[in-house]
Subunit: 231 residues, 2 copies
Amino acid sequence: MPREHAHTVSSYEQELDRIRAMMARMGGIVENQMALAMAAIVDRDEDAAAGASECDPQVDALERDVEALAIRLLALRAPLAGDLREVVSALKITGDLERIGDCAASIARRSLRLDPADGRISLGGLRNMGRLVQENLRRAIDAMGQHDSERAVEVWQSDTVVDELYTAMFRELVTYMMEDPRTIRSCTHLLFIAKNLERIGDHATNIAERVYYAATGDLLPVVRPRGGAVV
Amino acid sequence: MPREHAHTVSSYEQELDRIRAMMARMGGIVENQMALAMAAIVDRDEDAAAGASECDPQVDALERDVEALAIRLLALRAPLAGDLREVVSALKITGDLERIGDCAASIARRSLRLDPADGRISLGGLRNMGRLVQENLRRAIDAMGQHDSERAVEVWQSDTVVDELYTAMFRELVTYMMEDPRTIRSCTHLLFIAKNLERIGDHATNIAERVYYAATGDLLPVVRPRGGAVV
C-alpha cells in the first residue's frame, strides 16, 4: 500500500473514532445527568439537582462538535455504506441525547419546586419508572457504543412498559390532587417529571432505532409496540 | 461543458431540489397539523382533532424519505460547503418537524379529553399562545424555504414571548385547580397542551438556528434570549 494511501486511511479511521468517542462521552454525560435527576427527586438531593442542570452546556457543546466533525468527515473523506450510515445516525442520535439532557435538567429543576410538606405523596411509582428508563437508556447507549443491533431491539421492545407505568402515574397523581387540593402544585410538577421520564424513554427508543439502522441498513417496523401512553 | 458533466450537475441540482421540496411539504403538513390542533381546542372541533392525529404517519414517512435521499446524495454526489451544510441541516430539521407533528397530535388527542362542562376555564391565554407559536412556526418554515437568515433571527428572538405566555398559563391553570378541584382533570390536560405549544415554539427556534447556520455557516449565540419558562 503506498504511504500516502495508508496515511489517508488511518486519518479517516481516526476521525471516525473521534466521532465515536464524542458520542460515548455525550452518552456518559446524559446517563450521569439522568442519575443526578433521579437522586434530586427521590432523595431530595439539591446538590444533585444543581449538578444535573450544570451538564447542559457540555452536552450542547458536544452536539455541535459532533456535527462539525461529521461535516468535515463528509466533505473530506466521503464515507460510504456502513460508515456513511453511522455518520448520519450520529447526527440524529446527538439530537436525541441533547433532548434527554434537557429532560433530565427539567426534572432536576422541578425537584426543587416540590413542596417538602408533601411527603405524603408516594414516589414509589416514579422511582420504578425512573429505574426502568435509566436501564433502557444505559442499554441504548451500550448498543450505540458496540453497534449491537440485538440489544437495540431489546430496548425498542421494552419501552411499552415505560408507557404503561407513565399512564398509571398520571392517574395516580390526578387522584392525589382531587383527594387533597393542597398537593396540586407539587403534583403538577410530578406530572411533568413523569412525562419527562416517559420522553427520555422515547428518546432511548429512537437511539435504539438509529443504532439498528446504522448496524444493519434496515429499518425497524414503523409502528413500535406501545403501552398506550395516551395521556 | 461536456454533455456528461452537464447531466451530472443537473441530476445533482434535481436531487437537492427534491430534498427541498420534501422539506417544504413536511413543513406544510405540520403547519396544517398545528392549525387543526388549535381548532380542536379552541373550537372543540373533533374532526380537526382526528385530522391532526392522522397526519403523523405522513410526517414520519417524509422524515425517513428525506434521510434516504440525503444519504444517497452524500454517497453519490459528495456535496460541499453550503450544499453540504444544507443537507446536514435538513437531516436535523426533519427531526424538529417530526416532533412538532408529535406535539400537535398530542394537543389534538388531549382536546378530546377536556370536560365540556369546564366551559368556565378561559381559553384566552391558550389561544394567544397558540396564535404566536403558529406565527413563529410559519416564519421558521418560510425562512427554511427561502434560506432567509434575517427572518431566522426574528423567529429566534421572538420565542421569549412564548416562554412568558407559557409561564403565565401555568400559574393561571394551577390557580383554577386550587379554586375548583372539579377542574383538575381538564386543567392537567390544558397544562400539557400549553407545554406542547411551548415545545413547538422551541422546535421552531431550533429550525431557525439551523436555517441561519445553513445560510451563513455561522452559529447563532449559544444562549438565546429566554422568557423564563422555568415551570
